[in-house]
Amino acid sequence: MAYSKNVREAYQGTLATIKDAGLFKQERFIHSVQDAEIEVEFPAGAAPKRVINMCANNYLGLSSHPDVIKAAHEGLDSRGYGLSSVRFICGTQDIHRELEEKVSEFLGTEDTILFPSCMDANAGVFEAILTAEDVMISDRLVHASIIDGMRLAPAIHDTFKHSNMLHLEQKLQLHSDKRIKVVITDGVFSMDGDTAKLDEMVALCEKYDAMLFVDESHSSGFIGKTGRGTHEYCGVLGKIDIITTTFGKALGGASGGCVSGRKELVEMCRQKARPYLFSNTIAPVVVSGVLSVLDTLSKSTERRDKLEANTAFWRKGLTEAGFVLKDGNTPIVPVMLFNAKLAQDFSRDLFDEGIYAIGFFFPVVPNGQARIRTQISAAHDIHHLEKALTAFRKVGEKHGILGKTKQEIIEKYGA
């Protein structure tokens, strides 16, 4: 047997090290559909408890919306469960192409190609469109999937300080001799909830003849007046060369992602992107669900408007209660606690109060930046948010952090 005692013990040792460092991740089982209220089994084996969910990417509350479920059922009935093939053999249905066209229309791009996930889109796109003569210049806080994708690409890689346009310009000057330059950013950054300065980035890219890549996973469907994304919010619709986004968050929440943008770049992905070439695409049932989501969002901004109002209510409530928040106006609202243990204790205490929100700490966020990341949804009603605020105030008071500054919290708990 190749899996010898020594090999097993080596892995057990590594896992023990992860546990000792307090970095061991454990899943919590949810016994209900995804929604503003969910039933969570925690700790494992405990009876499921009904709690208000403050940590899903279910921004528009569509994950379990009856219209989406109905559309998914219809897709299942009319196009079946699976395709048992990659796209270019016999794995493309009419609804896949229909979804690609609908996404292009929604995002205001020339063309779109679907991927099994946005992780796959980001993993495949750079290798497909860049060569060793090119350069990728990325914001230092881009998502892990982008970093993985850049590692797979033959182009050289450089970074600029988070949202620092002066530094970005210096890098564009440094690499001015490269054949193709791509500036890479998230639209909304998932940990801090801040928004990329896409208007300034478009201007710099035009000045230095660079392409602009934006991951819109935490923006598509609700950022901007009609929810098209950060490019709409910043007034640069049609000026982003490559957008990647997910259908696993606001746009139905199931799975799947895409690369959308200039038609030649999309075609390069169709010819060369390995996650597209060597994997089945999105299942018909999910495609049908996402088509229904885009249809709903194209007709009305009601859900993104409710999300915007909920976010304003939540931010105002937390600020008045005396919490330290990260600045921003997106539905990602980080409550800063700075200390990793405090973040874990705070999360556990919230759960006792019927609120489900997770503590984030190093290495997911920088050392000394531990937090509870709250995420607001259009599925929340004001009574959910009022109950959550009451719980946050109670737990904040217990730990003595209400009205305290960053420095005072760090002095009390350490960073």
Binding site: I147, R151, I156, H157, D158, T159, K161, K171, L174, H175
Partner: protein, 81 residues
């Protein structure tokens, strides 16, 4: 070569440190000290090559050779004519 030392120290400081980070010196461990991650070494190598008009072979651009400003100066001096 004092000037080269200072140029590289200034570049590393501006490039990798945030405003509230502690200052670094010529012998501060950069890679092993977690200030520069190995992925960012490519941009440091590129800066040195453009600045000093040299070409550093990939097999010489190791984390050890880039681990302090002093070590980087030693490496660059090998290739500056």
């Amino acid at each position: 070569m004092e000037e080269m030392k200072d140029v590289i120290l200034e570049y590393v400081t501006n490039e990798y440190l945030e405003e509230d980070d502690d200052e670094i010196s010529y012998d501060t461990p950069l890679i092993s000290g977690g200030i520069v991650d190995s992925f960012s070494m490519a941009s440091l190598k590129r800066f040195l090559e453009v600045k000093y008009k040299i070409s550093i072979p990939d097999d010489k651009a190791t984390p050890e050779a880039f681990d302090s400003v002093d070590k980087i100066v030693e490496l660059v001096k090998e290739y500056v004519s």
